[in-house]
Symmetry: C2
Subunit: 269 residues, 2 copies
């Protein structure tokens, strides 16, 4: 079991922010990363379609031989976790919603927590419901920011447009005096400085990458499943345009991917 890898999937390139944290904490593990770049974005698709794609992604990674799956995509984590856990009952699956929610509750003093994400993530109320279960006193304020992903994908996350659109999306939740804001999409960490500028009053930004990595570590340790190797590796798979993936990944990882990025076609059910 310990020789098997850890699978990670995302709708595209954003999940690399999660991969980066896992790699840091678990350098001995072999990681398989799948970015469904042919069908990105997931954030404005329906629940059924997101579930269907998430199942296909999981099947693909299972065939590589994995001992644990990380659903790095917030939209998939919001919509597909129940189905994935039912469909793949033997496979431990870790999503980003619960670790991110815990991190936010720990960080918040006032208990006023903001959540920003794709349309689908916000519509699902996944963060809101999870936070309510973990801390019934917390107040959650949500805002969908559908143009953030295309802005990051275009590399315009430092532009004045990014700033203006952030202002447009974030003004409405500023009035709730939140002290903590969950970046509920793997693309959003790239907009951190812009979001900080707009929020002004020292709001803590929560990027769940770190707490997801911690949860993976604890799970593998607790189940005696940690890799014996000192140095693992990563295999990258995308469903479209590996060169574009490489380009944007430079922004996200602040390092070049030298490994080969393999283009694959997923099987429909």
């Amino acid at each position: 079991m310990e020789n098997k890898g850890v699978g990670i999937f995302d709708s595209g390139v954003g999940g690399l922010t999660v991969l980066k944290e896992i790699r840091k904490l678990l350098p001995g593990e072999t990681l398989y990363y799948l970015g469904d770049t042919a069908r990105v974005p997931y954030g404005n698709k329906s629940k059924d379609t997101v579930i269907r794609y998430s199942i296909q992604n999981t099947r693909f990674l299972l065939k590589r031989g994995i001992k644990l799956l990380v659903v790095a995509c917030n939209t998939s984590s919001s919509y597909a976790m129940d189905t994935l856990r039912k469909e793949f009952s033997e496979l431990p699956i870790i999503g980003v919603i619960e670790p991110g929610s815990r991190q936010a509750i720990e960080a918040s003093k006032s208990g006023h927590i903001g959540v920003i994400g794709t349309k689908a993530t916000i519509k699902s109320n996944a963060y809101k419901n999870t936070i309510s279960i973990l801390d019934s006193k917390a107040r959650v304020y949500q805002q969908a920011c559908p143009l953030f992903v295309p802005i990051v994908e275009e590399g315009m996350h430092r532009s004045k447009f990014a700033h203006e659109i952030a202002k447009y999306y974030l003004e409405p939740i500023k009035k709730y005096h939140i002290d903590t804001l969950i970046l509920g999409c793997t693309h959003y960490p790239l907009l951190s400085s812009v979001i900080n500028d707009v929020m002004v009053n020292n709001v803590k930004l929560i990027n769940s990458g770190k707490s997801v990595a911690k949860k993976v570590y604890e799970y593998l340790l607790g189940h005696n499943m940690l890799a014996k190797a000192r140095k693992g590796g990563v295999e990258f798979f995308v469903t479209d345009a590996p060169e574009q993936f490489k380009k944007i990944s430079r922004l996200l990882l602040s390092e070049d991917i030298n490994d080969h990025i393999k283009e694959v076609v997923l099987e429909d059910e």
Copy 2:
């Protein structure tokens, strides 16, 4: 043959601007419209993937029984026409590039023609090459505008962001003194007033819908394939989120779709 319908596909909702013109000119025809909303946008995908999706779309429409296919999507028209014509050699196929190019050449006095489109459409040089073949004296200036589609999809095409982003994309081609600008994406007609504002100097905007409809009419007439009926109809198919399709279609058609919009899953090759 005349009892069969006309198939139209687009990556999403944008092709409805083409459907509208066909409906106006050919009210007796039965039209089948497929919007691949589960995989929209095509404009930043690779050539191979766009071709694969275009083949699947065509197969789906063929099963409905069609006598002619309109590829309303500019990206598909740019990348997939040769393959589709080879793969479906019995089926007459009309794309948007050639009609749009002709319309632009006729409209331009100076012979300086601008083209805006998705990354893929611009990268393919489809308009540039077609215009060069039709009029070797014409000068073509191209600009990709990747944020235009998400802005329209978000219903923000009248916002100040739309204006600012249009300015950002269009300033560079203004210096070439073009008198004609091809809107090389079916979403762009919704940005016409914003584009006109930015271009200032009376540039003619070319939306190929009308010339595509004319070409369909001429083909069916010339081949004695026109429907005998006085009143046809439309059947709508989408691969995801019919309600969202309905909502945006209101913007594009300036009328409600009362017909049922059927959600379908396409077959992989």
